[in-house]
């Protein structure tokens, strides 16, 4: 309720304090983008399937949010993305939430350092993210699944073991690095190309919101 106060012959109207917004770690813009990024992680599978490319591109949304809204938003996107995948596709994907966290955090850090301002920087960021994600996923695959997943990567692990005679654990790590070293740089290049096409006004809004 408004109250009237007279000060220096001027009537000043005082209103009760307006409740502050609820404290949360993400801007509204980031909150609105994350569900679309999660959906993008799943929807790009249709594009990859149509093109019959030997990659997943299931982290493009996570990398995009991390670059636009910062590492924390990237981490949240990774967690939500793998949780939703676990609910919609297979509960086995819950186990890979730490990998999504690594991708979101590293992409956010790379974005903060300006790696996505050039094509070369994006490829370099993709390689670093790819190796880190591969090592994280290899640890999970070795600990939970004996080094093999029921996918193309599992067959690649067997092929590497057959060709180089290394242990299953080493073959699992090499297979993961080979897969992710192709997938993540391509994802980062795609994000770089999208950022180039994005209206500057929108990019600036994200940067302001993340600051």
């Amino acid at each position: 309720m408004a109250m009237g106060v007279v000060r220096n012959a001027l009537r000043v109207v005082c209103y009760p304090p307006v409740p502050l917004p609820a404290r949360r770690p993400l801007s509204t813009l980031a909150l609105a983008l994350i569900p679309r990024a999660v959906a993008l992680n799943l929807a790009l599978g249709a594009v990859v399937g149509a093109l019959k490319l030997p990659v997943y591109l299931d982290s493009v949304g996570t990398i995009l949010v991390a670059v636009l809204a910062g590492p924390w938003a990237g981490i949240v996107t990774g967690i939500v993305s793998n949780s939703v995948l676990g609910l919609l596709v297979s509960p086995a994907l819950f186990a890979f939430i730490p990998v999504a966290i690594v991708i979101g955090w590293l992409a956010g850090v790379a974005g903060t350092l300006g790696a996505f301002r050039s094509l070369a920087g994006s490829i370099a960021a993709g390689l670093v993210i790819g190796v880190a994600a591969a090592l994280a996923s290899a640890v999970i695959v070795i600990a939970l699944m004996g080094g093999l997943t029921a996918s193309g990567t599992g067959l690649l692990t067997i092929a590497i073991r057959a060709t180089f005679g290394v242990s299953v654990d080493s073959a699992a790590k090499i297979a993961a690095v080979v897969t992710d070293a192709l997938d993540k740089p391509l994802s980062c290049v795609l994000v770089y190309l999208v950022l180039e096409r994005l209206p500057r006004r929108l990019g600036a809004r994200f940067r302001r919101a993340a600051a």
């Binding site: 609820a22 909150l31 790009l44 509960p91 699944m145």
Partner: protein, 257 residues
């Protein structure tokens, strides 16, 4: 999807599923995961979702077991005599890993198939999950079908404009087509998020204070106690395993000295 689990507060089956997964990994192998797998499938059958949970479990367990046995048969340990015949130890190892994985998939599969994600998120929000986190899960689940449909639309549109897709284009050609196919989809979703942010702000998404649920989910006292018992039993089981582990270490040290 409706199941018999809808009669329960979603947090109770969730607590049971988490406890079963942890017990499957912490308990003596391979009998505990085998028991957890059987129990989870029995619960799924009793809830009317047995078929879906079994398929979900088999889709992961069978290929994993087959690949592990194949790996063991193709590359036997140096002491083993015959190639392409799986060893007993290797097969038992593969069985243990597959059972553990199957137990986890079946226990979580009961939640994934039998509990509506929206209901689960609402129950979590009632127990203190922040509104923004609940929004992220529900909005993501709702955005997925729309994004998939949009991806198909973009694919069709770009094909009509002459973008070569599929066989006969070579990996290089298909890689070149990727930005043309993925670009409009991604840019469209980012631009749309700005409108959604304005809508969220306009609807006072930031407002502080306790929210009232439109359709509150019942949490009877019996279920609250059931969850407490589950957590206590889980803590006791993990403590018992730790004690056993520490005990075996002490025995090993004594026998060495």
């Amino acid at each position: 999807m409706t199941s018999a689990l809808d009669r329960w507060n979603p947090l109770t089956p969730l607590a049971a599923a988490i406890a079963l997964v942890l017990v499957a990994f912490a308990g003596p192998q391979p009998w505990t995961p085998a028991a957890v797998l059987a129990l989870s499938l029995a619960i799924a059958l009793a809830s009317g979702i047995g078929g879906k949970v079994t398929v979900l479990t088999l889709l992961v367990v069978v290929p994993t077991f087959a690949l592990l046995v194949l790996l063991d048969a193709a590359f036997p340990e140096p002491a083993a005599e015959t190639r392409w015949i799986p060893s007993r130890a290797g097969t038992l190892d593969a069985l243990a890993i597959s059972l553990r994985l199957g137990a986890a998939i079946a226990a979580l599969g009961v939640i994934v198939v039998g509990v509506a994600p929206r209901r689960l998120t609402r129950a979590l929000a009632a127990r203190g999950l922040p509104a923004w986190a609940a929004y992220l899960v529900i909005a993501s689940l709702e955005a997925v079908p729309d994004a998939r449909r949009r991806a198909e639309d973009v694919l069709d549109a770009q094909r009509c404009r002459g973008v070569a897709v599929g066989k006969g284009t070579g990996v290089r050609g298909r890689l070149r087509a990727l930005p043309a196919l993925a670009g409009p989809l991604i840019v469209g979703l980012v631009i749309e998020s700005e409108e959604r942010a304005l809508a969220l702000d306009a609807r006072a998404f930031d407002a502080r204070g306790k929210r009232t649920a439109l359709a509150p989910i019942a949490d009877p006292i019996g279920e609250i106690w059931a969850r407490r018992v589950i957590w206590l039993a889980l803590a006791a089981a993990i403590a018992w395993r730790f004690w056993e582990f520490a005990h075996s270490l002490v025995i090993a040290q004594v026998s060495r000295s």
